[in-house]
């Protein structure tokens, strides 16, 4: 199957994973060994915490219902060291849902709280035909951001955690949820991950087994590529009749800059990508101004690449470094200092790829449900809005004493989430034919705001055959000051994964070089290495440096699988 640079699809080498068997637990531990909570929320990101915040607002005025939830009314289970530790986004948000959820806080107070960095007043969109030239184009409607706010989702989640705790939630940080508890076709909660296991899974001196956390309702807010969400989708057939999910990968840096940037910038390529059908690269960048509460000028810059590409040497991290060579960027960043870096995959399928949102005993919010508009590059406001709607639906169900959450499904469809995602439901699919062939179709969809009927299909990212191209030839050699290698980038995330922890990444060994190279280049954290003495053609084994992993999730799109690591492992993002 592996010829000389002969195209092979990563999907032909599926990872050794047995989902849902591995990630669903059907026999609950005895009652005295469980932890019982009212509502269990898996994932302390913006969507999960918005759910907690809204639910607790409603429960604050209703002591009777609160009482019925027991000693721990709301528990948030978060694998990072603090909420927000694994969160990363552009991010320029539509403020509406945040204002709706936190009406007592002004935008000025958001900024004082350290998670918002100013309102967008000027913006520009550029095409970059080459590495030297940038052409300003009229701002396409989806890119209009006037009045939106530049924020850090990592800092926002930290703030939401504080509100949730003040409202009475128990936030269990450094805790992975590794299995969904399902009994008689109903989600009963989750099992938390073991801690203190060695490389081969053997218990070490500090071993602590996980616990069954049972709940009246469970919220899956795992973000992109949730392991339990994936298992739930299979178990309850939530994706039946939907399109497969497709994915993108974003790498972001935050810079402290000598002079303020006066506008919000998006670039739509094509440089440094290769948009030919052969390379299949689609992507874009953002450069957002941020002023922090101390008055310092910061800039958020990032590169997003669609994981539909075919050149195995495509690396979002290195493309960002290459993009920074452009004079447009140099004049913004030069003389500044990089203060943060991070990477995260995001769901790009939009409306048709969204699974059914509810199942008996549980529901999906935010990125777990694929609520991202990758035309406008927006999802945070949908995360918040879905959290609000989920909180309200759960509250209503608790009040009725019912387990039926289907009202949430309709509420999402009728809300701004359903409306906005419907408009762009068919917009990006044409790009799967390539940028040039697909471009007119995309423009037509944007111009008609989704009024054209029909449903356009997605095909799976891992079905795309890979070849070893020459994208990597354009990557600059890192100088450690302006451009950086992967490992020094991982270093500044504060990543502290225990060296002797079990490997949480599943990939096949003995795979064609094209597949191995895909993993090696794609991974922004330098997790995958091909041994120097591996044969140039044919199959190779891959060294997996899983302790470098920043849990971006991209590997799952190209033939591997990220599973929940031990709680507390991974990066500690602060301002991404």
């Amino acid at each position: 199957m592996a010829g000389r640079n002969g195209a092979v699809a990563p999907g032909a080498y599926p990872p050794p994973v047995d989902s849902p068997n591995e990630f669903i637990k059907r026999q609950l531990d005895p009652e005295d060994e469980r932890i019982e909570v009212g509502v269990a929320i898996v994932g302390g990101g913006t969507a999960g915490l918005a759910t907690a915040n809204r639910l607790l607002q409603l429960l604050a005025d209703d002591p009777e219902t609160l009482e019925r939830l027991g000693e721990v009314p709301v528990a948030v289970i978060e694998k990072a060291k603090v909420c927000g530790g694994h969160n990363l986004s552009g991010a320029v948000v539509r403020p509406g849902p945040l204002q709706e959820l936190y009406p007592e806080y002004t935008r000025e107070q958001w900024r004082e709280a350290g998670w918002a960095f100013g309102e967008v007043t000027k913006e520009a969109v550029y095409m970059t035909p080459t590495g030297k030239v940038a052409l300003r184009i009229p701002t396409p409607p989806p890119f209009k951001n006037h009045g939106n706010e530049v924020i850090s989702v990592s800092a926002l989640a930290r703030w939401q955690q504080q509100l949730a705790e003040e409202g009475g939630a128990y936030v269990l940080t450094e805790t992975s949820a590794t299995q969904l508890l399902v009994e008689d076709g109903v989600v009963r909660g989750v099992r938390t991950g073991d801690k203190g296991r060695g490389k081969d899974g053997e218990p070490l001196g500090n071993f602590e087994p996980g616990t069954d956390v049972t709940a009246q309702h469970t919220v899956l807010a795992e973000g992109c590529w949730g392991t339990l969400t994936g298992a739930a989708i299979r178990e309850f057939d939530l994706a039946e009749g939907r399109e497969p999910q497709v994915w993108e990968l974003g790498v972001k840096e935050v810079w402290k800059v000598p002079k303020p940037l006066d506008r919000l910038i998006h670039t739509i390529g094509p440089w440094p990508l290769r948009i030919s059908a052969k390379y299949g690269q689609i992507g874009g960048t953002w450069i957002y101004p941020m002023k922090n509460a101390k008055g310092e000028d910061l800039v958020s810059i990032g590169f997003v690449v669609d994981l539909e590409y075919a050149d195995a040497t495509t690396s979002a991290h290195d493309l960002l470094q290459q993009f920074k060579q452009h004079p447009l960027v140099r004049k913004i960043l030069e003389g500044g200092e990089r203060i943060a870096w991070g990477a995260k995959a995001l769901p790009g399928g939009g409306y048709w790829s969204m699974p059914k949102l509810t199942m008996p005993g549980a529901l999906l919010v935010g990125d777990s449900a694929g609520m991202v508009d990758t035309v406008a590059l927006k999802g945070v406001h949908h995360c918040i809005k879905s959290g609000i709607l989920a909180g309200e639906a759960i509250y209503a169900a608790l009040k009725r004493g019912s387990t039926d959450l289907s009202a949430y499904e309709d509420a999402v469809e009728e809300s701004s989430i359903g409306k906005e995602l419907w408009q762009v439901r068919n917009t990006r699919q044409p790009f799967q034919k390539g940028f040039l062939r697909g471009g007119p179709g995309v423009n037509l969809q944007i111009a008609t705001k989704g009024k054209l009927p029909g449903r356009k299909e997605w095909h799976r990212n891992d079905a795309k055959p890979m070849f070893i191209g020459s994208t990597a030839k354009g990557y600059p050699k890192p100088d450690g000051k302006y451009t950086f290698d992967k490992l020094s980038s991982v270093f500044i995330t504060g990543n502290a994964t225990r060296d002797d922890a079990p490997n949480h990444i599943r990939v096949r060994q003995n795979v064609p070089r094209e597949v191995a190279e895909t993993w090696r280049w794609m991974c922004p954290a330098g997790v995958y290495e091909i041994p120097e003495d591996a044969p140039e053609h044919g199959n190779v084994d891959v060294i997996v440096n899983y302790t470098n992993c920043v849990q971006c999730g991209a590997i799952t799109a190209k033939g591997g699988r990220l599973t929940p690591p031990e709680g507390g492992d991974g990066p500690l993002y602060q301002i991404t």
Partner: protein, 325 residues
């Protein structure tokens, strides 16, 4: 009288290198504060002339307390009493697990502030300020103390000067141990995770990375370390420990040990920042790597681009010849 009290750990008639560094650091800081650095030794039957040797590193006085050895709680009792009786404002430790445990217990006992893994201490406005790397060493946080401050160094953070040969007066202090302090007994001394070499104390480290190609590559590094003789040892990177080529006890870097030998010879190590933070304080760094672009050449004092399988054997020969002459 205000001052700094340093816990000096000793074992079999010799002081721990990090404790000596802490005494010297305290003497320097006390000079800037216009006060004195004192040391405290706790153990069974410690000879006065051993305790007095701490004067050579700058201790103005040494308190000697007769109590069980190797346990934290008796030392907490002893230090709490000595600090209360003499009005010390600060306690300083050279580091190590015992230092962490004593420091934490002492902070609880005295209601003091405590900072661990400190890499530098300065004097600002007549008070000590401790600097501690945070977020995987990517940033430095500063600690200041409202009352008593307890500062526990990171291993090798404080340089050990040669002894001046001076001796300090020794004052024996009787301390009544808390009831719980005598409950635990030291049963056995062992090295953590089976370490059989003291890489943190070595003067010369020969370290190997994935560039060695295979586990057997460490044999020639061992041979080179043996040729250097004296206080030399072999160390390793995370990648090769991960690959099972060398034991974890010898791992240098962010998640391994932090070392500062006189000579650090890096063979087949690319020098990623995760490794660099564990060895960047080495006095002389020599790197052998076949990739001229390897980051290690940016901070090595001497870099050799070439095949280590050819260079190391020649190096062994040369060192042997030099030693033989």
């Amino acid at each position: 009288m205000a001052g700094i009290l340093v816990y000096a750990l000793h074992y079999e008639g010799a002081f721990n290198k990090n404790s000596l560094g802490a005494v010297a650091e305290a003497a320097k800081l006390a000079g800037e504060l216009g006060t004195e650095a004192h040391a405290i030794v706790v153990g069974e039957g410690i000879a006065d002339d051993l305790a007095a040797q701490l004067g050579g590193y700058g201790a103005a006085k040494v308190f000697k307390v007769e109590a069980p050895e190797g346990l934290a709680q008796p030392v907490v009792d002893a230090m709490a009493k000595v600090m209360t009786d003499n009005g010390h404002d600060y306690a300083l430790f050279g580091g190590g697990l015992l230092g962490f445990e004593i420091g934490a217990g002492l902070a609880a006992r005295l209601g003091a502030g405590v900072t661990m893994e400190v890499t530098n201490v300065t004097v600002q406005d007549g008070r000590l300020v401790a600097e501690r790397p945070i977020l995987g060493d990517s940033a430095i946080s500063e600690s200041r103390y409202k009352g008593v401050g307890i500062i526990i160094g990171r291993l090798n953070a404080f340089e050990v000067p040669a002894s001046t040969g001076a001796s300090a007066p020794v004052e024996t202090v009787a301390v009544e141990l808390s009831p719980w302090s005598t409950k635990a007994k030291l049963v056995k001394r062992g090295e953590q995770r089976g370490a059989d070499v003291d890489i943190e104390g070595a003067d010369i480290l020969v370290a190997g990375g994935r560039g060695l190609g295979k586990a057997e590559g460490f044999e020639q590094l061992q041979e080179l370390a043996d040729a250097f003789g004296g206080n030399s040892a072999v160390a390793a990177t995370r990648a090769v420990v991960d690959a099972g080529w060398y034991p974890y006890a010898a791992q240098i870097g962010q998640t391994g040990k932090t070392v500062a030998p006189k000579l650090y010879l890096a063979a087949g190590i690319s020098g990623a920042i995760q490794h660099k933070v564990g060895m960047q304080s080495s006095e002389n760094i020599v790197a052998i790597n076949k990739d001229a672009n390897a980051p290690i050449f940016e901070f090595a004092d001497l870099g050799i681009v070439g095949d280590l399988n050819k260079i190391v054997p020649k190096l062994i020969e040369a060192v042997k010849a030099k030693k033989g002459s």
